[in-house]
């Protein structure tokens, strides 16, 4: 009775935590993290249900809120806005079945995987930084099968969503739809699994600090 989307989301084992979902719902996250959250939620009905429960808190607060008087012509002005755009009813935004990227990411890339402009950052790893507000950074990473992402410590929060392939670190395995949230206390070595290149969407609220010498040089040139 379950559709493919349902099965897909059941395979997802690493979901976002409540504090991240609530902050996204309240509108308190930087744009870069919002993009990772929206992409993950597009793939995970479990996270979507928890997110929409937090949205319900926002709705309840709004409904019980005090009020501020509107301008006398407020409704007329809004009806004029509506008239100016009438006939436009927004259609659902949804990615095609075979898309690699969820719809919110497609909106930013203006296409799917084949529309990404990659830059090499050494060791076979490629990245593409997606322009967002400057309080955090989000990038696509392309890691060849069997290759380690350079060892790095985090300062601040890092959120990594797998879109294709899978990676493992010392603790666990992450595949499509899984999201890993790390902080400065985690120093780990993720490795893309053999057999398929791994593509991730990763947001950081501070630059990654690479602990190896060579990657640090690459860091300077790649703008990590």
């Amino acid at each position: 009775m379950n559709g493919t989307m349902e099965q897909k989301s059941k395979e997802i084992r690493h979901h976002l935590s409540d504090d991240v979902l609530m902050a996204y719902s309240a509108g308190a996250l930087p744009e870069a993290f919002n993009l990772v959250v929206a992409s993950h939620v597009s793939l995970s009905d479990e996270s979507r249900a928890r997110l929409e429960a937090f949205d319900a808190v926002g709705g309840a607060v709004l409904d019980g809120s005090d009020t501020v008087a509107l301008h006398a012509d407020s409704l007329d002005a809004t009806m004029a806005l509506i008239a100016a755009q009438d006939g436009v009813r927004e259609a659902p935004r949804a990615a095609p079945e075979d898309a690699v990227f969820p719809q919110p990411l497609r909106d930013y890339i203006d296409g799917d995987l084949d529309a990404v402009a990659w830059r090499s950052i050494g060791g076979g790893v490629r990245q593409s930084i997606i322009p967002t507000s400057s309080d955090a950074t989000v990038r696509l990473l392309h890691i060849p099968a069997g290759t380690a992402i350079p060892d790095h410590g985090h300062s601040g929060m890092e959120m990594t969503l797998v879109l294709k392939g899978a990676f493992r670190d010392e603790f666990d395995r992450f595949a499509r739809g899984d999201v890993e949230v790390a902080n400065e206390h985690l120093n780990h070595t993720p490795i893309a699994e053999e057999g398929e290149d791994c593509i991730c969407l990763a947001a950081t609220d501070a630059p990654l600090k690479f602990s190896g010498f060579l990657p640090r040089i690459a860091q300077r040139f790649a703008g990590i």
Binding site: A23, S42, D45, R50, A56, T67, L70, T78, Q85, R89
Partner: protein
Amino acid sequence: MLTSSTTVEETGALDAAAAYVADARRNLRPLKSGKNMVADMQETDWVAMMARVRNDRDQAAFAAIFRHFGPRVKAYLMKGGASEPLAEECMQEALATVWRKVELFDPARASVATWIFTIARNRRIDMIRKERRPEPEDLSWGPEAEPDQEDVLSMQQESERLTQAIRTLPEKQRKLIEQAYFGDLTHSQIAADTGLPLGTIKSRIRLALERLRHTMK
């Protein structure tokens, strides 16, 4: 359509009734007699109003939604730091978006207040923070399928219970939740543990999503 005769429900009536009594300042309809009560006239009406906007482009129904939610959305925007003129403009844009997106509203997954909150929040990020707001992929029932009326009723009643639960929280805790959603707290200042009964709402949304996925096949 949902009417008062179909909204009678017993469970949680005492809690809700107590909250309703304390709520005289709001313009809710009176309780029906005995332990049965009209659980949520207010919210059910908004779902019906939304249906009229969606199906008939009913401007009177939209005006009713506007008069209730417009002043609340404007208060939300001003508490978030917007000036009065900007809040007014942003509120108008948000309510115009309600009209434009009405077909995407799913009453089995959200109350009208919740749905309008998400639109206002996104408008605020867009117009006041001047950032794009990435949103998850849309899930829609499409032209043929409709959500189950029982699911809709349950969701609306559960939403009303949540509103009541927030209203009856200790002052300090209520302020914290309002500040998280209405203020401009950073991520690290927001605590997810609200102490609110969100498990039932989550389960209902999960169920609605499963039914929706099934029809989308």
